[in-house]
Amino acid sequence: MTTYRTCPRSGLQFDTQAEKLMLANAVVAVVYLLVGGILAVGVVLTRWPAVHWLAADNFYMVLTAHGIDMLIFWIIFFEIAVLYFCSSTLLRCRIATPRIAWLGFALMLIGSVTTNVAIFRGDSSVMMTSYVPMMAHPAFYLGLILFAVGALVGCFVFFGTLVVAKNEKTYQGSVPLVTFGAITAAIIAVFTIASGAIILIPTFLMSVGVIKEVDPLVYRTIWWAFGHSSQQINVAAHISIWYAIAAICFGAKPMSERVSRGAFLLYILFLQLASAHHLLADPGLSTEWKVVNTSYFMYFAVLASMIHGLTIPGAIEVAQREKGFTKGLFEWLRKAPWGNPVFSGMFISLIGFGFLGGISGVMMGTEQLNMIIHNTIYVPGHFHATVVIGTTLSFMSLTYFLIPVLFRREMISPGLAKLQPYLFGLSMYFFVVVMMGAGTLGVSRRHWDMAMGGSPFAYEFPGAAYLMMGLVGITGVVAIVGGALYIYITVGSLLWGRKLDAGALSPKTVPIPVVPSTVALQGHGSAGFAAPGTFALASVFLVAFVLYYFINWKYLSQVWGLS
């Protein structure tokens, strides 16, 4: 029997079965964040040259587990919770087939534990990418396949819930923008998981000896359609969360639905092509293929990200100006609730994702520039800006909103929670900048010893590279402390936080009230220039982008000729 709970603090209505699913997925996600965070200690303290903590075999094992637990398990468990929230909660409907949703959850849980067991046995230190012909234990692949099937089930429950809402008419007109963003993420997820299955199933069969060979280049090409695309799920998901937080904290409405939805549509059409970023330095693929794909077909997905980067702060600015913060270009921003971790985390995430993750991503994705970056530590520098500052920090901000609303607990240590996004976000800013600096000097990623002590030809990196890797260690430790604070606050609130009033239960859903359309038609109008402060910020971004882009071309023009 379906029952609905209306949260007295937010007015959101939860299907109690969907709520349990969200809770379970979010809790397991946080557990994986904890595991991945502990593993991060091993990674940064080994790559910090003065400490060089773990032995090589343990380092590669820990690095494999850190990548998979963070990039796949933490993020996707949380995303499944977000998908259920964006469908069942935002559309005020029952969740489709809750039993099947629990089956999906169970598959994900069993799969993720299986893969972890395989890694910690020590014979599956193949990194997250597991390039053939290097082989892991069969359980490594089996776990990933089970997990992927479970996640796919979750995506279909999400789609089914959209159908339920439509059929039972719980809303009028179009779905909310945030739900539209979640649909984008789920569509990308289906493509991603299918690619993963296409390549991991034969690899699993190869590991148990049923088939003899998987071609290494075919593996790389299809694996990245899974590996990179899964990061595009994150982009669509965390951008949806930014829109949601702008709406929650400011009541902000999109500057125009058409532009924001159009940008999500560009993601659906072009974002997937980016898996080519990883293959630019590969043999066997034509230049035309590389250029078209790596640029997301003429940078249309970059265009989409640049649009979201404007419209989200723009929507906040418009909402703030309507509240009377109209002085100068930036009063709206100065008077924003910087002490509220839901907002501060989201805004630190947005700025860092754009300036650090976005710009560096385009550099690496430029066919020729890739040659001075490929497989250096610049690459993890980039993706820590996208998936840690972008995705993880957004998820953290959303959690601070969900603790009272979904978990029904009062947050413990609100002072620490206020500090956490700054500590974590800003230390990650430094962390990724020094990583990219070290990468520019040629330091390799996934490398145990930058001094190469065991080789007769040891290359000595410049002192600046050692300095930057030392700073990677220091800022990495600070970021881990920031991450630990998040886990302490979240888990602590769940365990010891004061229980809050759950709100009224009802056997029937209350449909979303229809607002008369005359209210909306006022819009912002084409004559205005409604968000000048945001436009100024965006211009600063563009200047940084253009300068850094051409600096890299200058750098490339000085290296050996290649043709």
Partner: protein
């Protein structure tokens, strides 16, 4: 009204754009086209473009070809492993084997001369990372990648493996001399 509610205007796609959005979309679009043109243009005017010349190969075939060049052009050997230092004529085909966990042989090239460098791996994926120049190329087993290189400075260069290839990965370093 807000982004977490359905658009209150059912015909939301008819709502006009704000000038901030319109202007930014135009600027961003132009910048995207410039970046695309830059990538294509560098293929015409730039001097650093990665070749796509690739052949399927096997361990035996590639080893034989490498050995032939080593036999013909070795000028000396280095280290206690007697790694040959090969000095091929300018413009010729040069072969470099990557395997667990070394690069073989050592190459001695001439500045400002062009060579056809053949790369493959005998086992796992490896990464050709030329330092301190910082050129990075993926090396994939089964595929022979022919890259035309023109060193523009003389000195001692190291090839660091930057694709994880197992426990000895961090010690997989090769050498190129440029005279």
């Amino acid at each position: 009204m807000s982004a977490i509610l359905p658009p209150s205007d059912r015909l939301w796609w008819k709502q006009p754009l704000d000038r901030v959005e319109g202007t930014w979309i135009l600027i961003a679009f132009i910048w995207c086209m410039i970046m695309f043109a830059m990538m294509v243009g560098w293929h015409i005017y730039g001097k650093q473009n990665l070749s796509t010349e690739t052949y399927k190969t096997t361990r035996e075939l590639f080893t034989a070809k490498t050995q032939a060049v080593v036999d013909k052009y070795t000028v000396r050997t280095e280290t206690d492993k007697n790694i040959p230092v090969v000095r091929p004529p300018a413009g010729s085909d040069v072969y470099l084997i990557s395997r667990l966990w070394d690069w073989w042989p050592i190459l001695e090239l001439e500045k400002d001369k062009t060579y056809r460098l053949h790369l493959t791996s005998m086992d796992y994926n490896h990464g050709f990372s030329l330092q301190p120049v910082n050129i990075n190329i993926q090396v994939v087993p089964g595929y022979e990648h022919v890259v035309k290189v023109t060193p523009n400075q003389s000195g001692i260069f190291s090839i660091i493996c930057n694709e994880y290839c197992g426990i000895g990965h961090a010690n997989m370093v090769g050498r190129i001399y440029v005279k």
